[in-house]
């Protein structure tokens, strides 16, 4: 890249006017304004999602600008683009030598030569003029590092994790791709507000355990979130690099930091506030419950976590398969909570073993309900109770929680079939189909009533499923299951669908095409069409306000319910959502609970 040497620039008299060109379409950007008898050059800028025009003086060191936007000093615009060809001018490999913000490239003519020049995106930095080329830091362009994965043909014969994760070397290269933006947009995409540039910066310095600890300031479960978060819709979607190329692999870096911390045994227990003796009961040990427990125990509360099953972790242990989230990792994250002082009571079905009054009598001062959306939804079509038709919950629980893949070493038998059909196309459906392949099924088919673009699963999961040879029958909806004389399922009658107008969910409504019915052969069906609120907890909390679908209806965004001292969060409020959104809600609830208990204590005094 050719740059103007400092002495060359010094030869140019102050006030010299340049002609500015777009480096992409090569059109001149200068404009003459007769009223003021001034020349400007024009750029489009994006700030907080708004697109505005910005006029700058094309004179050397003439600090004049005009914009429809009032920008305070220090604010960084998200994008600068050519007003003519609309191409973004942000250069990922260039940032301001003074403040490290991303820089935008323009071309100027000096001595009849086109020379690249850079403008800092931060107001008040080199904003008003043209930055000097020697003050720029140019980093070589590096492509996003690929995470090595287990080969598809190999992995469908085992339950080991599919992505191997970054090595130390690739993690360092990837971390250095981060521009360390002063106004990091990635953070806005994170439901728990992790200091993303901060932890990536620590990885750059090879302080891996410190990087993990930085994440843990906001997220107690980084090894899990690094694996199962939909980063492509959250932090990575907002990464400034995504504008021009591929974003920084934030999720894989998060996983790397957490894995390094765990594998080098450098996990440290955060400093806790002095014990205040106030007791909190958390019902449900999934992502929301674990997060709230971790937050409150750090604040000095005495936290007891109740789990109905025999193993804590909720959906992390019964739902998500080993090849996507190794159970050893969940165990170690839960042990971390135990070491922090969280008491975990398994085999405790709240609602039946203890109801609300029992919990108050046991001396709890606040209760958090995070019981998840654990009720399997069936399609209510004929033949659904035939043998070898399972809910996704049952299929996954047998295999993950009960370890049916190790039958008969473990006593729980696994459902078997040669031609598996999974109904639905969410992450859970992908998990079921991929698990079935690993259990020895010849063929696994996803049946989904809408088209590919509406499939709710993460792209990465769909991609992994395709690599493993899962078949997709889209625009297809089962209408009836057909069994043999022993009542085992043998065929599914399906109908072809077409897409209509968007429905309440915003997705196109699937409409059956009359007379298009056809049969699919199968001997094992897994229904993965969603989940609802499990009513069992409400037998002990009958007063709690719920919406029409049966989910808890909180009174505030932080999850306060109509019952004083009772909060709710996670899937039991939102319906099936992601691990991280449940954790984000738990964080809000923890802060609110802390405030509430503090106020209450003041009142007692």
């Amino acid at each position: 890249m050719s740059e103007l040497k400092k002495d060359q620039l010094e030869k140019i008299a102050p006030g010299t006017e340049f002609t500015i060109y777009c480096p992409h379409c090569h059109q001149g950007l200068n404009l003459y304004e007769p009223k003021s008898n001034k020349t400007w050059f024009r750029l489009n800028i994006t700030f907080r999602g708004r697109k505005e025009e910005l006029f700058l003086s094309p004179k050397v060191d003439a600090f004049e600008q005009r914009s429809s936007l009032e920008l305070a000093e220090g604010q960084v615009v998200e994008d600068m683009s050519c007003p003519l060809c609309q191409t973004s001018l942000i250069e990922s490999e260039a940032h301001c030598g003074e403040c490290d913000s991303p820089a935008a490239k323009i071309m100027i003519t000096v001595h009849s030569r086109l020379i690249p020049f850079y403008i800092c995106t931060k107001a008040g930095c080199h904003w008003h003029g043209i930055s000097r080329a020697d003050e720029l830091r140019i980093t070589p362009k590096v492509a996003r590092q690929r995470v090595p994965e287990q080969d598809a043909l190999l992995r469908i014969r085992n339950f080991q994790e599919v992505p191997y994760g970054f090595t130390r070397e690739t993690a360092l290269i990837e971390a250095h791709r981060c521009l360390n933006c002063k106004d990091p947009k990635c953070r806005l995409g994170c439901p728990v507000d992790i200091d993303i540039p901060g932890f990536i910066g620590l990885i750059k310095q090879e302080k891996f355990a410190e990087a993990a600890q930085r994440i843990k300031e906001k997220n107690a479960l980084p090894a899990i979130c690094g694996r199962v978060c939909p980063q492509e819709d959250q932090c990575e979607k907002n990464c400034i690099l995504a504008l021009k190329e591929t974003p920084v692999a934030i999720g894989s870096l998060e996983r790397f930091a957490a894995d390094m911390e765990r594998e080098t045994q450098s996990v440290v227990i955060p400093r806790k506030a002095p014990a205040n003796g106030i007791k909190i009961a958390v019902v449900g040990s999934g992502p929301a419950g674990l997060t709230l427990a971790a937050d409150m125990v750090v604040k000095g509360y005495s936290v007891t976590l109740y789990e109905a099953l025999h193993k804590p972790g909720g959906v992390l242990v019964y739902g998500i398969p080993e090849f996507r989230l190794p159970k050893a990792i969940v165990d170690s994250e839960i042990n971390y909570l135990r070491r922090m002082g969280v008491k975990i009571e398994v085999n405790s079905l709240i609602g039946r073993l203890f109801d609300l009054n029992d919990l108050w009598e046991m001396g709890y001062n606040a209760i958090y309900l995070a019981v998840g959306a654990g009720l399997p939804v069936f399609m209510s079509i004929p033949g659904e109770n035939l043998c070898n038709i399972y809910s996704a919950n049952e299929y996954l629980t047998r295999l993950n929680l009960m370890k049916a893949y190790a039958f008969p070493d473990y006593d729980t038998p696994a459902p078997k079939g040669r031609q598996v059909v999974v109904v639905g196309a969410g992450n859970v459906a992908m998990d079921c189909a991929r698990t079935a392949l690993r259990m020895g099924s010849r063929e696994a088919t996803i049946v989904y009533r809408r088209s590919r673009s509406e499939m709710p699963a993460r792209l990465e999961e769909i991609h992994h499923a395709e690599e493993e040879g899962i078949k997709f029958r889209l625009m297809t909806n089962p209408v009836r299951f057909i069994g043999d004389d022993q009542r085992w399922v043998r065929q599914i009658e399906c109908v072809q669908m077409k897409l209509g107008e968007p429905d309440s969910s915003g997705r196109p409504r699937p409409i059956p095409i009359a007379g298009s019915n056809f049969l699919i052969d199968t001997d094992l069906v897994i229904v993965a069409v969603g989940a609802g609120p499990n009513p069992v907890v409400f037998s002990g909390f009958s007063e709690i306000e719920r919406n029409q679908k049966g989910y808890i209806k909180p009174q505030t965004p932080a999850g306060r319910t109509n019952l004083p001292g009772v909060w709710a969060g996670g899937d039991i409020v939102t319906g099936s959502a992601t691990v991280i959104s449940a954790m984000g809600m738990a964080r809000l609830a923890a802060d609110d609970m802390h405030k509430y208990l503090n106020e209450k204590q003041d009142h007692w005094i």
Binding site: L349, E394, R398, F407, P408, P413, N534, V536
Partner: protein, 278 residues
Amino acid sequence: MYPIIDRQELAKGNMVLITVEAPQIARKIKPGQFVVLRINETGERIPLTVAYKDLSHGTITIIFMVIGKSTALLGSLKVGDAIKDLVGPLGITEEFTKLGTVVGIGGGSGIAVLHHLLQGYGAAGNKLVGIIGARERDLLILEDEMKNLCQQLIVATDDGSYGMHGLVTDALKTLVERDNPEPIDLVIAVGPLVMMRAVCQQTKLYNIKTLVSLNPVMVDATGMCGACRVSVGGRTRFACVEGPHFDGHQVDFDELIQRNNTYGRDEKTSLLFSIRAK
């Protein structure tokens, strides 16, 4: 861990009674409710209905028949051993109201559950008639307890080795079709599915409301998996959270019998494997 503090063999060792220390469950459990237990780390979760509870000692008592690997293993535990996981109370209990005359029909280990349910109806002031049956005399359990609880008790054995020669349905027939029968307000049937199906077919003819206690396959037993779904009156119900008691005339027994056979082959594999391992 839940320690076993008492163990008895009933019916010539075909059935086993164990009493387990579980004070929190004992405090809450009501007649007809059940628990799920997992014996050890590699065990499966099996639902078993509670026969008695003892509040003062904080214990619950389970009576079960040894039929597969898990029940064999459970039966082999001695006093002082412990069960790894125990969850309860599960299922919903009945509202025990005064109806008049309640006839309880029990078969096999179902007699234990029946006894617990009849205690509830007895306490509500109902007149209790018991019919209990077994293949032969030695397989009969809780005869004395039932005799003490019920105003009238009929015992039937398939081979005629004790009591009346015949099935429990024959006993019910004699009860209903004798001269001047007294009206029956409710029949409760607990036992093998074929027995409950036969009782329901019969009471349908007599038009007597019949309650059955179902025992489908369960995994978590907290309403999360749907393994226990049964068709009741054409609607799918989850026996673990909506049951296990349903109106017997509405239950699709044929479907349930088939569903309970889903793992027939695996159960044999599991049992053989555990015997070989020994």
